[in-house]
């Protein structure tokens, strides 16, 4: 992901230029990095560490705690809720349909704990969009769209 103008470290510095160099800004900073790169690699952790002047181990400890930052490979994640209420409404079918549609493509399917959409189970979430009372057909089209 190196650009012509410099290394990842420089790119991250530019990305975080308006974020104050404070420990309390680590979570917003990590969000910005994830929205840009879709994953947090050791290299990116190093860049955030340098940029905010927080030790590498501390940044790693925080970044690795959160499931929404856990996306090795950096594919576009689509989350299928497989918690109790969605499970009762057929989240397994939804997940399988999504997985087949995503195979060998740029999208990855992840299971999610309760998405807080139990009144519209089964639910899925593409980061931007919540799918309510999702059908296998619908999730397949979302996976295809997300991959374009």
């Amino acid at each position: 992901m190196d650009s012509e103008n410099g290394t990842v470290s420089d790119a991250v510095k530019v990305l975080l230029h308006d974020i104050p160099r404070e420990r309390g800004q680590l979570l917003p900073a990590l969000w910005r990095v994830v929205e840009q790169y879709r994953e947090i690699t050791p290299e990116l952790i190093g860049a955030v560490s340098e940029s905010l002047n927080i030790p590498y181990a501390e940044v790693y400890g925080v970044a690795s705690f959160y499931s929404l930052f856990d996306n090795p490979g950096g594919k576009m994640p689509v989350y299928v809720c497989t918690d109790v209420m969605c499970m009762l409404q057929g989240s397994e079918n939804l997940k399988h349909a999504a997985e087949s549609a995503a195979e060998n493509g740029p999208v990855t399917i992840r299971e999610s704990a309760c998405l807080g959409q139990c009144d519209y189970a089964p639910a899925a979430w593409s980061g931007a969009r919540v799918l309510r009372r999702a059908t296998p057909e619908e999730i397949v089209s979302v996976v295809k769209e997300a991959g374009q």
Partner: protein, 405 residues
Amino acid sequence: MNQVRRLLPDFGTTSSPTSVERLKERGFAEALRKVFAMSGEDIISQITESGIKGRGGAAFPTGLKWSSVYKAPGETKYVVMNADESELGTFKDRVLLEEDPLGALVGVLIAAHAVGAKKAFCYIRGEYRDVENRMAEALDTLRSQGWVGPDRVDVQIRRGAGAYIAGEETALFNSIEGKRPEPRVKPPFPTIKGLWASPTLIQNVETLANVAVLFAHDTEWFKQYGTKETIGTKLVAISGHVKQPGVYEVPFGMSLTDILNAPDLGGGIAGSGRLGAMLLGGAAGTFLTPEEIAKSSLDYASLGAVGANIGSGAVMVFDDTVDLVGVTTRLARFFAEESCGQCVPCRVGTQRVVELIENDGIQSRPQDLRELGLAMRDASICGLGQTAPLALLSLLDRPELRQHA
């Protein structure tokens, strides 16, 4: 009509949820003017008089909490709105923030003025991106009206990133501070040492919305609904096998049967049409049998008699075909996944529960499961570990619910 519309706006409301018009229509503009002319003591005594209790699950008296932060020594104080709604089956704060985001935010401003805080944070789970956007719009409206800003109260939104434990109040502070969201040992309590070791008032979204409607009206109005012990209304999130899943506002004291069956509430049992069980209060809640449901109402004493708690207001309904042992296994996996790993009873206990259920079944070693569950309840640092075994223990106590095991 069984449902009430107070925290949720009237059905006829047409103004945009984040507009200045809505702020006026709901009486919030007037409430802010009134409150900012009052002293902290007067605001807090009105809160105490109203009898509001925390709606996030613990039902701690709100007036007492505010008074504790008010009296706590310290130059800098904070107010935090907890919108990290991640409890299984809980989605009331999502609906409340979708339908009336200004209410809870007005509650934040009232709280900040009352306890003397200049800075507030609204912490919302990362999966609620649409709700976060709406909250930001509502905040802009309040800013444009001069209620939010460096000279009044500076309010920042913080987005969580997928950690159930971050909803625990002290873990949430660590998350805002840029640390791992692991719970802290209490005491000291947040009212004395919260965010950056300063006195901090942290409240659930629904509690803050209650504060806003209280000051948009008065104490007499506020006390029109509820029971002697528990004043006001509660948002319940009904999901599963009911005809009309959704969030409904009901007075405390309403029978669980009405909540499930009334035509303007749950609308009756779906699925097989026969009620099998209810899981009340989320993943850390209690399973109730149809007999227990029939004799219980939405109040702490009534539910306490059957060993249950309102919790966050999650009402998960199962028809009589659902394998509740399977449900409990899913819950056990959830807790094992979400345990932060800081303390042994929770880190090891949640894993052992999964192994015991998956390898041997819930029937084979009930005594071991029970002892493990009690050790977790007694020895874990925070609410997650303490309450993780509750649903399982409630199922062990109700053999009639395990016909599928």
